[in-house]
């Protein structure tokens, strides 16, 4: 079953706070993420992953009356922002929770776990079950 795993990073004092970390802390964090991705790949569970630019570049877009894009933002007051996401393919919900908890505990300043909020959403790719009740298939 596939899940989208969305990692929300805290915004700190209105700046992308990772920029304020010491070089060692920064490198430890990056090494953790590389290790996590390698582990996912080696387990045959990685479908896709991307990191996103900080919210200073984020725009909300809607179509105007003439169908052309109308942009809004960025929104510096946002407390948390989507820093990156994975699409994983795992055998159970428990495994997905385990992976989300692992990434949530990525190291921050001084090696302290960040305990970031990770939103986990099942991807709508489940096969319909041929043994499902006959009225519902």
């Amino acid at each position: 079953m596939k899940y989208m795993m969305m990692m929300n990073a805290p915004r700190g004092n209105g700046e992308y706070q990772i920029n304020d970390w010491s070089p060692d802390d920064f490198q430890a964090h990056i090494a953790f993420m590389h290790g996590f991705n390698r582990q996912l790949s080696e387990a045959g569970e990685m479908v896709a992953c991307e990191g996103l630019t900080p919210p200073a570049q984020a725009k909300l877009v809607r179509a105007g009356k003439d169908g052309r894009p109308v942009t809004d933002g960025p929104f510096p007051e946002t407390k948390e922002f989507l820093a990156g996401f994975w699409i994983i393919d795992v055998d159970s919900a428990e495994r997905a929770y385990e992976l989300a908890a692992t990434v949530s505990a990525a190291p921050g300043p001084g090696g302290t776990p960040l305990n970031m909020a990770v939103e986990l959403r099942p991807v709508m790719s489940a096969p319909p079950d041929p043994s499902a009740p006959s009225l519902t298939r």
Binding site: S41, G44, D91, A126, P127, P128, P133, S134, L135
Partner: protein, 428 residues
């Protein structure tokens, strides 16, 4: 793949479809012999995969060789030897000691005595790839590659994951086999039932995956249902006296027979009771029902055979109102006693409703609310919604259709449930 799709169907031995079909047929047989020879399943499997890829291009260009099995065997053995050679050269470089002398064996086709073992080997391979030491997704991937003869790329595209991810899954599956010490031999009689059960489960999972993807725009994907049916046919030929294997094959055929009728033009789900039955595949239905009858005649019935019998009743009803619900109710009653699958209990509740009225069904569904596996499951809502609709309680039906739509992880199913809710709303 595209080249394959645009080729005219013909029976020429130079036709790419023929070559592909033959390759996939021979793959497990040759792998069995190679694995026996070299004693390492993982290496043998890699070598065969290389031989299959070589054959796919060379046979397409030059035609199928006169002894295709011998061809595959020789090429796989050669690849294996190359592998051993470069591996031992690497080790020598690393250790700076020439510790090993290479085995020099001339390449020959396997002797006839070994060919006789090949069919047994296919069965041993199935047992190995579907071993309970493997996770379901690993077992599926390995079975499709080692027994089904599919390439990693084809399997990856069938499951919509990157090829590298699927390759990793397959190599981990082989590592698990290695580390858990599963031997390349027939299970003992004591283990047989359990091991065969694991094989049937994996084949059924492959079938289910195909059931999901066989409608809609994904035409380039490997047809997993057809592949599951092919592999189950193979298993059936190897275990002709097993009623459950016959039952599984029949269940797949009788379910797949409705394929053309179960989705609309835009991939929308059409439920059993609304399907155009003239679109059902009569040939598959008669093959499936014949399997069910002969399996019932020759012994006790297990869960797959009983489910196949129920599917046969649906498939043989000319119109939905002709469905023999008392018979279906009785069969689900028996199944309920032997299966842990809570879907069986839900199906039973529906059959009871069709025989004794929706209230009787709803009462049974209420009993399932406390079931550990079903608690909060959207299918409880889906069934309730249908039963409330049957008795004309649209308000409750809408509520449960919507709740069910929130809970499913299948897009066609969600759309169908939302549409049912919308229709009930429009009525009331």
């Amino acid at each position: 793949m595209n080249a394959k799709l645009v080729t005219d169907r013909n029976t020429s031995t130079n036709c790419p479809e023929f070559a592909e079909h033959l390759l996939r047929e021979l793959a497990p047989q040759v792998l069995g012999v190679v694995a026996r020879k070299c004693g390492d399943f993982a290496d043998a499997e890699d070598a065969l995969q290389e031989a299959l890829i070589a054959a796919a291009t060379q046979w397409r260009a030059a035609g199928v060789p006169t002894n295709p099995r011998g061809w595959l065997y020789s090429v796989a053995m050669r690849r294996l030897k190359d592998r051993v050679r470069s591996e031992s050269a690497r080790r020598r470089r690393e250790n700076e000691v020439a510790s090993e002398r290479e085995h020099e064996q001339p390449f020959v086709s396997p002797p006839d005595a070994e060919l006789g073992l090949m069919t047994d080997d296919t069965l041993v391979l199935l047992f190995m790839c579907c071993h309970s030491a493997l996770s379901p997704s690993s077992a599926i991937a390995l079975t499709l590659r080692a027994v089904g003869g599919l390439t990693t790329a084809e399997i990856a595209s069938a499951f919509l994951v990157p090829e590298a991810t699927m390759a990793q899954r397959i190599s981990r599956a082989k590592q698990s086999i290695k580390s858990s010490g599963v031997a390349f031999r027939m299970p003992t009689d004591d283990d047989m039932v359990e091991r065969l059960g694991a094989v049937m489960h994996v084949l059924y999972l492959i079938f289910n995956e195909g059931y999901a993807s066989s409608s809609g725009p994904e035409l380039h994907r490997v047809d997993l249902s057809a592949e599951a049916i092919r592999l189950t046919r193979m298993l059936r030929a190897l275990t002709p006296d097993n009623g459950e294997v016959a039952g599984l094959l029949a269940l797949m055929l009788l379910t797949d027979a409705r394929r053309a009728a179960r989705a609309g033009r835009h991939g929308e789900l059409i439920p059993l009771d609304a399907q155009d039955r003239s679109l059902w595949d009569r040939q598959m239905i008669s093959e499936g029902t014949a399997l069910v009858s002969s399996a019932f005649a020759s012994g006790s019935a297990g869960p797959y055979l009983l489910q196949a019998a129920i599917a046969a009743i649906h498939d043989e009803s000319p119109r939905v109102q002709d469905t023999d619900w008392p018979q279906i109710m009785a069969l689900y009653g028996v199944l309920k006693q032997m299966s842990e699958n809570p879907m069986i209990a839900l199906n039973h509740a529906i059959a009871v409703a069709m025989v004794g009225g929706a209230e009787a069904g709803l009462a049974l569904v209420s009993e399932l609310d406390t079931d550990q596996k079903l608690r909060g499951h959207y299918r409880l809502d889906a069934v309730r919604a249908h039963l409330y609709e049957m008795i004309g309680d649209d308000a409750r039906a809408i509520l449960h259709y919507r709740a069910a739509a929130e809970g499913t992880a299948s897009i066609p199913e969600r759309d169908y449930l939302n549409l049912k809710a919308a229709r009930a709303s429009a009525r009331s």
